[in-house]
């Protein structure tokens, strides 16, 4: 037995979760998949006075398309997204199942949840990066009903979010579907936390890149967009030279000392390489053009 003692509560509806959060106060934590919280409890880095188990809550496990939004319920397991092949995901959000394969390992993915990852806010977590890549909105439920927070404001720093005391994440709304997108990361071993990660998304219209997003992970306390690199690709030809310059700008944007561990130059180098490869993969998987021109 490794964790410190806690009171265990079970909730069956989102409203019950909110009521329990109010009743139990700030020392209570929500237990979803438990793939981050329970290790922290086993190490006694976390010792919540109470846990509210939301696994019995029904109606929060879904992947649904609403127009240009892909809505993912908070209790959807990583694995469900990984194996999703429907048109609602394929059409503009194909990066989600591909990127889900980066998350830990199979037994982690079959238990961990999308909402849990969004609430945990690890700066290298795939869902946090994908949320920024697809300009997601986070839907939270509190005492006074639901509110929607743009992902830009949601991730406020290392393991911290804009959630208020007493609120729970109920849905993530991925937006801005695009044909070309990829998320790549580097870790010493498969399944480890990434040292660095890069995600890109864009469309190609009349042989020009449009609607470009670049997100970096592992370089700060939260996922970072790189507007200067995005501006370079915006309107440019989808070519190796474009990717190379975007990668150079992205690497240069990495500030020293921002990383949690590791060597600054090394991380910069990784960001450049991952960004360039992400552009290649995104273009090759998102278009029928095959390998990008300029690659030997």
């Amino acid at each position: 037995m490794k964790p410190a003692p806690f009171e265990y509560h079970r909730a069956y509806t989102p409203q019950e979760v909110v009521e329990l959060l109010r009743e139990l106060g700030e020392d209570a934590k929500i237990l979803a998949g438990g793939q981050s919280l329970v290790p922290m409890m086993n190490f006694r880095l976390a010792h919540p006075a109470a846990l509210i188990d939301i696994n019995p809550v029904s109606g929060l496990d879904y992947i649904r398309r609403e127009g240009d939004e892909l809505r993912v319920g908070a209790l959807t397991r990583h694995r469900s997204v990984e194996i999703s092949r429907g048109a609602e995901v394929r059409d503009g959000f194909a990066v989600l199942p591909r990127a889900a394969r980066w998350i830990g390992h199979y037994p982690i993915r079959s238990r961990g949840t999308v909402g849990g990852s969004i609430a945990h806010s690890d700066p290298t977590a795939e869902w946090c990066l994908l949320a920024r890549l697809h300009d997601a909105e986070i839907v939270v439920l509190g005492e006074h009903g639901t509110r929607t927070v743009p992902s830009e404001e949601w991730f406020t720093g290392f393991l911290t979010t804009a959630a208020l005391p007493g609120e729970m994440v109920i849905e993530t709304r991925f937006r801005r579907p695009r044909r070309c997108a990829a998320l790549l990361e580097y870790a010493r071993r498969r399944g480890d936390f990434a040292i660095a990660a890069a995600g890109v998304a864009f469309d190609v219209v009349d042989d020009r890149c449009q609607d470009v997003t670049i997100v970096l992970g592992g370089v700060a306390g939260r996922p970072l967009r790189v507007p200067e690199a995005e501006a370079h690709v915006q309107g440019a030809e989808p070519a190796e030279s474009t990717w190379a310059e975007a990668a150079r700008i992205a690497a240069a944007s990495v500030e020293p000392g921002a990383e949690a561990d590791g060597d600054h130059d090394y991380r910069r180098h990784l960001v450049g390489t991952l960004t360039r490869r992400a552009f290649r993969e995104a273009y090759e998987t998102g278009t029928d053009a095959g390998p990008v021109r300029g690659v030997a």
Binding site: M1, K2, P3, A4, P5, F6, E7, Y8, L31, G34, Q35, V38, P39, N42, F43, L51, D53, N55, R79, G104, H105, Y106, P107, I108, S110, R111, R190, G191
Partner: protein, 165 residues
């Protein structure tokens, strides 16, 4: 005062009523309350995979699930694989391909592989290698494990096909 709960677990097809303290992990519940010591505990923080069991058919780290969370659910452990003294096909394949040496990690690998096999995979060796990378084995170098899982996947696919014909 201890936070205790009355729970009903279905483990390998048998029902058990237990009073569990909330902080007792499913792994400790299986080993200490039910005496099912086939499930091994290595790191106890979700890295090594030795404690992998099936919860409603899905593979989970039993050190990262509390026993009380399994209330009303079905748990399958390594003890549920063999029929009496007869090892199941996967266990026999592990033996044949030297997929174990010291054997400490084996229960976790078997349950991980059973979960994977239950999805009816094509099971090319690359995919199998990715799956078994979830668990740590420091003896075999994984080669024998990959061979065993790949072979059983093919056998079970063949049987499933025959059953449908």
């Amino acid at each position: 005062m201890k936070d205790q709960h009355l729970v009903t677990l279905n483990v390998n097809g048998s029902e058990h009523e237990l009073v569990l303290e909330s902080r007792r992990t499913l792994a400790d519940t299986l080993r200490q309350d039910l005496g099912l010591t086939g499930t091994h505990l290595g790191c106890e923080h979700g890295i090594c995979g030795a404690c992998t069991v099936l919860l409603d058919g899905e593979p989970v780290r039993a050190c990262l699930v509390f026993g009380v969370q399994a209330d009303g659910h079905e748990v399958r452990t390594v003890e549920g694989l063999a029929r009496g003294d007869e090892l199941n096909d996967l266990q026999q394949a592990f033996s044949r391909h030297h997929g174990l040496q010291c054997g400490f990690c084996t229960p976790g690998f078997l349950m991980l592989a059973e979960a994977y096999l239950s999805t009816g995979p094509e099971a090319d060796p690359d995919e199998v290698r990715e799956v078994v990378s979830a668990n740590l084995c420091r003896c075999t170098g994984y080669q024998g494990i990959v061979e065993a899982v790949t072979e059983v996947a093919a056998e079970r696919r063949g049987e499933a096909k025959t059953a449908h014909d």
